[in-house]
C-alpha cells in the first residue's frame, strides 16, 4: 500500500470512472506527516455473512466520524444492505439481522453515494483490516466493475505490535512441533479494551462494535503514542 495517500488520491481522482468514486477521491486525503490529532477519521464496522470477501457478502455498515479527541456518536450512521450471497443461518444468529430485515434492505449500490460522501476525506479506523476494505473492494468490483482504495488504521494490528513479541526461529520450531506453547495475549476487541479499562460492551451490535473500536484507538494513542504521532506511522 502506498504511504503517500495524498498523491494516490489525486491519481485515483483522475482515473476513476464512476462519478461517486471520483468525488470520493477529490475530497482528498491528509499528508502522511499530519499529526494524528489533526486527522479526520471514521470508525467503521461491517457485519458480513462470512470471513471471505470472495464468497461472502456485506450485511450491514456502521460508521462513526471521529477525531482523536471526540467520537461523534451523534452523527453515526448505519445501513443494512442485501448481500449478494445467500444469507447463512449462522450469521443471522450472530448479528441479529433477520431474513425479514434483509428482504426489505436495498442493494449497497443504492447507498453507495451516501456512504462514500460520508467517509470522504477520512481515514478509516477498524479492528482487523481484513474485512471492511477487502469486502467493499470486492463488492464494488462485482457491482460497478471498479475497486476502491483508502487508508485504514487497524487497532488490532496496533495491539499486536504492542503486546506480541515475535518468536525466535527456535521458539517457533518448538511451538510448531507441540513441544512447547508460547501463549500470546489476546488482541480481540473486548480483551484489548479491558487492558485500557474501557467498559464492557456486548459484542455483535454493529454500531456498538464500531464505537468500541473508536474508543480503543483513542486509548491506544493516549497510552502508547502521542497526539503528534504522524498518521503515516499508523495507516496502511
Amino acid at each position: 500500500m502506498p504511504l503517500n495517500w495524498t498523491e494516490r488520491y489525486q491519481h485515483l481522482a483522475a482515473s476513476a470512472r464512476d462519478s461517486r468514486l471520483r468525488e470520493f477521491y477529490q475530497a482528498g486525503m491528509v499528508a502522511a506527516n499530519t499529526p494524528i490529532a489533526e486527522a479526520p477519521l471514521i470508525a467503521v464496522d461491517f457485519e458480513t455473512t462470512g470471513m471471505d470477501a470472495q464468497t461472502h457478502g456485506i450485511l450491514s455498515i456502521a460508521m462513526i466520524p471521529m477525531t482523536l479527541q471526540r467520537i461523534e456518536l451523534h452523527a453515526a450512521k448505519q445501513w443494512i444492505v442485501r448481500p449478494h450471497d445467500p444469507l447463512t443461518e449462522s450469521s443471522v444468529v450472530i448479528h441479529g439481522i433477520t431474513h425479514g430485515d434483509i428482504a426489505q434492505a436495498a442493494d449497497i449500490t443504492d447507498y453507495l453515494e451516501e456512504i462514500l460522501k460520508f467517509a470522504a476525506g477520512r481515514t478509516w479506523v477498524v479492528h482487523y483490516r481484513g474485512i471492511e476494505r477487502p469486502f467493499l473492494q470486492q463488492t464494488l468490483l462485482n457491482r460497478i466493475g471498479e475497486s476502491i482504495e483508502f487508508p485504514v488504521i487497524d487497532t488490532m494490528q496496533i495491539e499486536a505490535q504492542l503486546r506480541r513479541k515475535p518468536l525466535t526461529a527456535w521458539q517457533r520450531l518448538l511451538q510448531r512441533t507441540n513441544l512447547k506453547q508460547y501463549p500470546q495475549p489476546s488482541i480481540r476487541l473486548g480483551d484489548s479494551r479491558q487492558r485500557y479499562r474501557l467498559p464492557y460492551y456486548p459484542p455483535h451490535d454493529a454500531l456498538t462494535d464500531t464505537l468500541a473500536c473508536a474508543e480503543l484507538l483513542q486509548a491506544q494513542i493516549a497510552h502508547h503514542y502521542s497526539p503528534d504521532t504522524p498518521i503515516g506511522q499508523l495507516w496502511y
Binding site: 461523534e72 448505519q78 443494512i80 485500557y196 474501557l198 467498559p199 464505537l211 483513542q218
Partner: protein, 617 residues
C-alpha cells in the same frame, strides 16, 4: 439511516438525572452524545476555560477540585460534571482531573439546558448531591427565596389585641397578660386606625421604674410614632424598616383596616426557617460519612442568605441552628452506637454557637457536664468514646477541632456539674487575667443535648455572681482590650496605629472578636441573661451604663464588621475558594472602607471606655 444508540441508552437509564426523563427524551439524549477517552492523571477541565458539554463518566474516576486545587468531589461511573459552568456563563468553575483512565460521554450544552428547563425532576436531580450551589448561579431565573418573596401577612397568626386609649394602664397590663401578648395597640374611639402602641418594655420603663400610677390612662405611656406597613409588602422590607427606624413592632394594614402587628422576633424566626431544609436533612443522615456530604448544603444556605441581604443576626442564628443540629444528630448516633449513657449528662456548646452568631468558618468548642453521680472508673470510658465520636464527626462535617483543646474529649472539660460549679466559682471569685484568657469562651454557654438544666444552673451562677465581683470583671475587661482594631486603610494597605502597613486584616481577630469580648464584659456586669451580642447590647443600652449614643453605635459597628466578613466569605465560597477571616483592602469598595474605618473607630473608643471604667492602664 440514523443509528440506534442502544448501548448509550442502557447506560443512561441506570443513572440520575437521566433516569428521570421520559423514554423518548432519553433517546434524544442518547443520540446527542459524543465520546472521548482520557488517560489517568490528566486535566479534563481547567479553571475558567469555556465549556460546551455536560461531561458524563462512562467508566473511570475523576476528581473535581476547587479553584485553589483543593478537593471538592470525586466521581465515578454515572457521575457527571461541568453543569455549574454550563448553567452559569459557559466557563469552568471547578477544574477536573482524571484519577483513572476515563471514558467520557459529552452531552451538548443546548440539550442539557433544555432538559434542565423543561423537566423539573431532572433539574432537581442535577441540583441534589452536592450540586446545590448551582442554585445561586441561576438564581436570577428562578423564584426568589422566601424572605424576598413572602409577604408580611404570612407572619400574622392571631387577631390583633387592642385597647381603647381611655382605659387605665392596669387594664392594659391585665389584657396583655390574659391574651399572652407582648404589645398592645391603642385605639381612639371611632378612629379605625390605632393611635399608639405599648409593649412590655413600656410598662417597665414608663410605669414601674418611674413610679407612675397604674390608674393613669394608657395613652400617657404609649408610643405614638407608629409606622404602618401593608399586608402585601415583603417581609424583607419590614425587616429593613425595623432596622432603620429602630421600631420593633409594626402594625399591618390591609385595605386601610388593621390586620395585626408584626414584631422583630417574628421576622428573625421566619428567616431561621430557610435553613430548615438543611437542618431536616441533618436528621436524616445515619453516619458521619453521610453527614459529611451536607457540608456543601450548609455553605449553600449561607451564601443564599448573604445574597438575599439577610443581616448578620439572622445568618448567625441560622448557622448556629445548623451547627446545633449536627451536634444533636451526632449525639443521637453516638448513643445508638454506644448504648444509653450510664449517668445523665449535658452536652454544651461554647462561644459563637452559644451566642447564636456562628460564622461559616468556625472551629468546634464544646464540653460535657456530667451528673454528680458520675464515677470516673465506671463511667468515663463511655463518655470518652462519646466525646471522641462527636468531635471526630464535627471535624468531618466542617467544624475543625478546637486548637485550644476546648472540647469534650479533653478530660478537664468533661466533668460533673459540681466540678463545673467549682470552675466557675474559682474563675469569678479568684480571677487573674491570665487564667481567664482561655476561659472567656465558657461565659457563652448553651445546652445542646441532654440535661438542659445543668447548663441553666451554670448560667444562673454566672449571672448572679459576676456583677458582684469587680476584680473578675476587671480581668475580663483587661483581656477584652488586648486585641485592637486597625486605624483604617491607606491605598491597598491596612494602616496600624503605629504606622505599620499590612496587606490584609483578620476580621475576626481584629473586629468581631474584640467587640464581642467587650460587650460580654458589660453584659456580665449587669447580670444580663442574654448571650447574643445584639441582645446583650439591647440590655446594656437599657441599663444605661454607656455614654449616650454609644450603645447603638456599637450595634451598628458590629453589624457592619460582621457583614463585611460574612460577605467576603460568601464571595469566596461562590468562587469555589476556601473561605477564611482575612480581608484584603483591595477587595473592599470605597464605601466599605470608609464605613469600616468608622466602625473600627467606634470599637476603639469603646475599648478606651472599658479601660476607663475598669481602671486598666
Amino acid at each position: 439511516m440514523h443509528a440506534e444508540q442502544t448501548e448509550i441508552l442502557h447506560f443512561l437509564e441506570r443513572f440520575a438525572p437521566f433516569n428521570m426523563l421520559p423514554r423518548e427524551e432519553l433517546e434524544v439524549v442518547a443520540t446527542s452524545i459524543s465520546v472521548g477517552y482520557v488517560r489517568a492523571e490528566q486535566t479534563v477541565l481547567e479553571y475558567n476555560q469555556t465549556i460546551d458539554d455536560l461531561h458524563i463518566i462512562r467508566s473511570g474516576e475523576v476528581e473535581v477540585l476547587h479553584k485553589t486545587g483543593e478537593l471538592y468531589n470525586r466521581l465515578t461511573e454515572g457521575g457527571y460534571f461541568g453543569e455549574f459552568g454550563l448553567l452559569r456563563k459557559g466557563r469552568v468553575r471547578y477544574p477536573v482531573r482524571t484519577l483513572e483512565d476515563t471514558l467520557l460521554y459529552y452531552l451538548p450544552r443546548d440539550v442539557f439546558t433544555r432538559l434542565f428547563d423543561e423537566y423539573d425532576d431532572f433539574a432537581e436531580a442535577v441540583e441534589v448531591e452536592e450540586h446545590r450551589r448551582v442554585q445561586f448561579a441561576v438564581k436570577q431565573d428562578q423564584p426568589k427565596h422566601d424572605l424576598l418573596s413572602e409577604t408580611i401577612d404570612t407572619l400574622i397568626s392571631r387577631e390583633t389585641v387592642t385597647i381603647d386609649a381611655s382605659n387605665t394602664i392596669r387594664e392594659a397590663a391585665e389584657l396583655m397578660t390574659n391574651e399572652e401578648v407582648s404589645s398592645l395597640l391603642i385605639m381612639d374611639g371611632e378612629r379605625s386606625l390605632p393611635v399608639g402602641i405599648i409593649t412590655d418594655k413600656d410598662l417597665r420603663k414608663r410605669v414601674l421604674a418611674v413610679g407612675r400610677s397604674d390608674q393613669e390612662s394608657v395613652h400617657t405611656i404609649m408610643s405614638s410614632d407608629l409606622v404602618f406597613v401593608q399586608y402585601n409588602q415583603r417581609i424583607f422590607e419590614a425587616m429593613l424598616l425595623m432596622l432603620r427606624t429602630n421600631l420593633h413592632h409594626l402594625p399591618v394594614l390591609k385595605k386601610g383596616q388593621l390586620l395585626g402587628v408584626i414584631a422583630l422576633s417574628d421576622v428573625v424566626r421566619h428567616e431561621s426557617k430557610s435553613s430548615l431544609f438543611v437542618v431536616s436533612s441533618i436528621f436524616k443522615q445515619n453516619s458521619i460519612e453521610e453527614l459529611q456530604t451536607l457540608k456543601a448544603d450548609v455553605q449553600a444556605s449561607f451564601v443564599r442568605m448573604v445574597n438575599e441581604d439577610a443581616n448578620s443576626r439572622m445568618i448567625g442564628a441560622s448557622m448556629a441552628s445548623i451547627g446545633r443540629s449536627f451536634k444533636q444528630r451526632l449525639l443521637e448516633l453516638a448513643e445508638a452506637k454506644l448504648g444509653p449513657p450510664p449517668v445523665p449528662y449535658c452536652f454544651i456548646a461554647l462561644g459563637s454557637m452559644a451566642r447564636d452568631e456562628q460564622a461559616i468558618v468556625t472551629d468546634q468548642d464544646n464540653a460535657l457536664i456530667l451528673d454528680d453521680s458520675y464515677q470516673p472508673s465506671l463511667h468515663d470510658e463511655y463518655f470518652v468514646e462519646l466525646a471522641q465520636y462527636v468531635t471526630d464527626g464535627l471535624d468531618a462535617c466542617g467544624y475543625p477541632y478546637c486548637s485550644g483543646g476546648i472540647m469534650a474529649t479533653n478530660p478537664e472539660w468533661r466533668q460533673p456539674l459540681s466540678k463545673w460549679r467549682e470552675y466557675f466559682t474559682d474563675w469569678i471569685e479568684t480571677p487573674t487575667p491570665e487564667r481567664l484568657l482561655h476561659s472567656n469562651i465558657f461565659f457563652d454557654l448553651d445546652a445542646i443535648w441532654g440535661e438542659k438544666h445543668f447548663a441553666d444552673e451554670l448560667n444562673q451562677l454566672i449571672q448572679k455572681s459576676a456583677p458582684r465581683h469587680k476584680r473578675f470583671l476587671a480581668s475580663m475587661a483587661k483581656n477584652a482590650v488586648q486585641r485592637t482594631p486597625p486605624l483604617g486603610f491607606f491605598k491597598d494597605f491596612v494602616m496600624e496605629k503605629d504606622g505599620k502597613q499590612n496587606n490584609s486584616i483578620n476580621m475576626k481577630r481584629r473586629g468581631t472578636a474584640p467587640l464581642v469580648d467587650l460587650v460580654r464584659v458589660h453584659a456580665l456586669s449587669i447580670g444580663s441573661t442574654q448571650r447574643n451580642t445584639f441582645a446583650r447590647l439591647e440590655d446594656i443600652i437599657e441599663a444605661n451604663i454607656l455614654p449616650h449614643g454609644r450603645g447603638p453605635d456599637l450595634r451598628d459597628a458590629y453589624e457592619l464588621i460582621a457583614m463585611v466578613r460574612i460577605r467576603q466569605q460568601a464571595r469566596a465560597i461562590a468562587a469555589g475558594e476556601e473561605p477564611d477571616n482575612n480581608i484584603h483592602p483591595d477587595q473592599l469598595s470605597d464605601f466599605e472602607r470608609k464605613t469600616l474605618k468608622d466602625a473600627f473607630q467606634i470599637l476603639s473608643h469603646a475599648q478606651k471606655y472599658l479601660r476607663f471604667r475598669y481602671s486598666i492602664h
